[in-house]
């Protein structure tokens, strides 16, 4: 064999030379981050990454822009991660994705990096735990708030009943009483969860049982429906609205109350675009007949790609971006609420946020995380359809919720890896599953236990950060996989959902 050089080799070495020219230093590590790449958020991110690179000249960080719409970003991430792309190294995750990505083995457990979990709000940490290990670091927090017209009312309503009464007896000049996100998408689930919590109900019990067909849930959904048709407090058009439509409605002075995230506040204070600048205020969501008001917990987290070539460098970027000073800068520039609890004592935050930090902290501390499960998106999708059917008067609340609950139970049962199920697995199982079969066989329970962040989260730490190709080994002693106590008698697929 003569030492013929393959054209590809030449090309490759040329490419390497080129890369070497661009990055003159030999020891430079390249890390990529993906997430929101528009507006004020992007400017802040760029600025902070520059600051990071000044401090760490050995690391270069690049931004991979991704779509801003959550569903589209999720689809893109899944495409990348299923293909085991090492790029991007750092992923901005929605709070409801962490469990899914962790259970799939797409992101690294971070416990070995010793993240300062105590500094963050408890709920934000719990939302990012899977099998007792932390898989993403909270970046900023989103909570639902009640926006109300301070020029027309003396004080915000303290209960949904009072809100309904005020909205019903509003002046003719205000066409809408209360607006919320009612289109068939994740936002509708959030609106419902917040009503549900105030009525004393929940979607899932802490032990993972589906409770969305409870008496409280039926009452909460009936309240939402009647607010539209019986009382004319909520416009029917809200059933096609997402966040922005509700904001435009409220900021053009057409609504008395609005449920929305904090992002709307600075935008509506801009008097060149908003007719209600200086004429509205925010309050915690009202209480209901069953409980104090509580908002759903939203927000963004940063996670490290399980196939990243540079997990250690990626972690340094994550740690920097989720640091206290960076969070304060974010609050100032984009109005996003820090996920670190102690920052709410800092006077700088009081200047940055429209809301009194003490009040913001109490709202966040009372916020309800959405169920932490790898199949959250499917659960949500089942619920979205049921809720939308009821609110558009195609179904009655009780049977619709009962069917949705049955469907959810069937789904959760399908997710669960029952003992012996691995025997059924065929040879062409995806390689990842067979690589770490033993470790995973009894691992993913359908639901993470939301309360009690147990003190021992050991197993994940055995994974050295450099072992990028290995599946993030789940705990060897699973924390009590939670079988639904009242399993649907039907086969997977939910033939039982017809039991009306």
């Amino acid at each position: 064999m003569k030492p013929a050089r393959h054209p590809l080799t030449i090309l490759l070495s040329l490419g390497l030379t080129f890369v070497g020219c661009v990055f003159e230093d030999e020891g430079v590590t390249r890390v990529t981050i993906s997430g929101s790449a528009v507006g004020a958020e992007a400017d802040i991110l760029r600025r902070q990454l520059e600051a990071f690179q000044e401090e760490h000249p050995d690391v270069r960080v690049e931004i991979r822009p991704t779509p801003d719409a959550a569903d589209q970003r999720h689809q893109l991430y899944v495409q990348w991660l299923v293909a085991r792309s090492p790029d991007p190294d750092i992923l901005q995750l929605d709070v409801i994705w962490t469990a899914e990505f962790a259970a799939a083995g797409w992101i690294l457990p971070l416990s070995s990096f010793d993240p300062p979990t105590d500094a963050f709000f408890d709920a934000t940490i719990r939302a990012n735990l899977w099998q007792d290990a932390l898989y993403a670091v909270p970046w900023f927090v989103d909570v639902g708030m009640l926006y109300w017209r301070s020029d027309l009312l003396d004080s915000p309503p303290s209960s949904y009943g009072a809100l309904l009464e005020t909205a019903r007896t509003r002046s003719e000049r205000i066409p809408h009483g209360f607006v919320w996100q009612g289109a068939r998408y994740e936002g509708l689930v959030v609106t419902f969860l917040e009503h549900l919590r105030a009525f004393g109900g929940r979607v899932l019990e802490p032990d993972g049982r589906v409770r969305v067909d409870s008496e409280e849930a039926v009452r909460a959904l009936t309240f939402m429906r009647d607010a539209i048709y019986a009382h004319g407090a909520v416009p029917e058009a809200a059933l096609t609205w997402q966040e922005e439509q509700t904001r435009l409605d409220f900021q053009s002075g057409r609504a008395l109350f609005m449920r929305n995230w904090p992002y709307a506040y600075p935008l509506m204070q801009d008097s060149s675009a908003s007719e209600v600048a200086g004429r509205f205020d925010v309050a915690p969501l009202p209480a209901g007949p069953g409980a104090e008001g509580a908002s759903a917990l939203g927000g963004a987290q940063l996670a490290v790609n399980a196939h990243s070539d540079e997990p250690a460098a990626a972690w340094r970027v994550v740690a920097f971006l989720t640091g206290p000073e960076q969070m304060l800068e974010r609050a100032r520039g984009a109005g996003q609420y820090p996920a670190r609890r102690d920052l709410y004592d800092r006077p700088e935050l009081a200047d940055a946020l429209p809301v009194d930090p003490e009040r913001a902290r109490s709202i966040i501390e009372a916020a309800v995380p959405r169920p932490v499960t790898p199949v959250y998106t499917q659960l949500s999708s089942i619920l979205q359809i049921a809720l939308h059917r009821v609110l558009t008067r195609q179904r009655e609340p009780a049977p619709a919720l009962r069917e949705a609950a049955d469907e959810m139970r069937a789904l959760l049962e399908r997710v669960e890896l029952r003992p012996g199920a691995s025997a059924e697995r065929s040879d062409d199982a995806v390689p990842r599953a067979s690589e770490s079969d033993a470790a995973r066989a009894d691992a993913p329970a359908a639901i993470a236990d939301p309360p009690a962040a147990t003190t021992d989260a050991p197993a994940a730490t055995t994974d050295p950060p450099a072992a990028t190709t290995d599946a993030p080994a789940p705990t060897t002693d699973p924390p009590a996989p939670t079988a639904p106590v009242s399993p649907s008698p039907a086969a997977p697929g939910g033939g039982g959902r017809m039991g009306v």
């Binding site: 799939a104 499917q378 697995r425 697929g493």
Partner: protein, 309 residues
């Protein structure tokens, strides 16, 4: 005798060689069809017999036989989607065929400015479906939408209607948009059919004293039959697989009140990431469309297609 036998064997050999050549000549075409049509189809069919869920990689990709189909047929959302698809086909296809026929007959009569008239009629068809759907959405959205303003103006509505939050009224923009969009296509195909009818037949009929209606029934319709059949086939198959229009206009909502089969499949595949189950839905859509095509060709079009061939 021996002479005759030699001829026979020679002609048999010739025929065999001809057959071989024929096969060799169609082979590339068969290969291309196999590659672009049969292979993906077979792949989807195979996939539909697996449990393959990207959200649950720990479950692997086991072979489950027909389990996905069993689940599918017990899924009420699937049954509803079949109903919606059937409804959509049953309303839009006859409307488009009827309107398209009227337009084609009219265009056939025009003597001056024919080209311009045809371009104008064809315009809606040239607009990309997603763009057209978005425009229709704007027209029906909100209290100030064109549709609401129009109906309020003529007094047909007392209050503005929230079209997309009403499980019945949400169909109106969907059906209207499809008829608006696809009628030009029907017109084009039928117009081509009309122009294949020899004028001499009409002249002869006129001489024999046939009236306009008689000429239409006895000459135009029978001779237009092949074109009508092809159009019917195209439109039915297209309508059975309707996706983009509904996706942009209603997203299948409210609830799933306007969700056709293809959107249901998309939801399972790309939102739910259930590849096995989604493939089973796709196969079902394919089978339904295939059966329709078969039925049309068998019961309606066989004789005509043969004649033409």
């Amino acid at each position: 005798m021996s002479d005759g036998g030699g001829t026979a064997s020679r002609s048999a050999k010739l025929r065999r060689r001809e057959r071989r050549t024929a096969w060799a000549m169609v082979l590339p075409a068969v290969g291309v069809v196999a590659l672009v049509a049969l292979f993906p189809l077979a792949w989807t069919a195979w996939e539909s017999m697996h449990l393959h869920d990207l959200r649950m990689p720990w479950r692997g990709r086991p072979f489950v036989g027909l389990a996905n189909y069993v689940e599918l047929f017990s899924d009420s959302r699937f049954r509803e989607a079949v109903g919606h698809t059937a409804f959509f086909v049953a309303v839009t296809v006859p409307l488009e065929l009827g309107l398209g026929l009227v337009l084609a007959l009219g265009l056939d009569q025009i003597r001056r400015g024919r080209g311009l008239a045809r371009v104008l009629v064809l315009l809606p068809w040239a607009v990309p479906t997603a763009v057209a759907a978005l425009v229709w959405r704007f027209m029906f959205e909100g209290e100030g939408g064109v549709a609401n303003q129009l109906l309020l103006g003529v007094g047909l509505l007392g209050d503005p209607l929230v079209w997309f939050a009403d499980s019945v009224m949400a169909w109106v923009p969907v059906l209207l948009a499809d008829v608006w969009k696809m009628t030009p296509f029907v017109t084009l195909l039928l117009l081509a059919g009309l122009q294949n009818i020899p004028q001499a037949l009409y002249e002869a009929a006129r001489m024999d004293g046939a009236g306009g209606w008689q000429r239409f029934r006895e000459i135009t319709l029978p001779l237009l039959r092949p074109a009508l059949l092809v159009t019917l086939l195209f439109r039915t198959l297209d309508a059975l697989r309707v996706f983009d229009l509904v996706y942009v206009l209603t997203g299948g909502g409210p609830g799933t009140a306007t969700e056709p089969l293809s959107l249901f499949a998309f939801d399972a595949l790309l939102q739910g990431l259930r590849f096995g189950y989604g493939s089973a839905i796709s196969m079902t859509v394919f089978l339904i469309a295939f059966l329709f095509a078969l039925a049309y060709v068998r019961f309606l079009g066989h004789a005509d297609l043969m004649e033409r061939g």
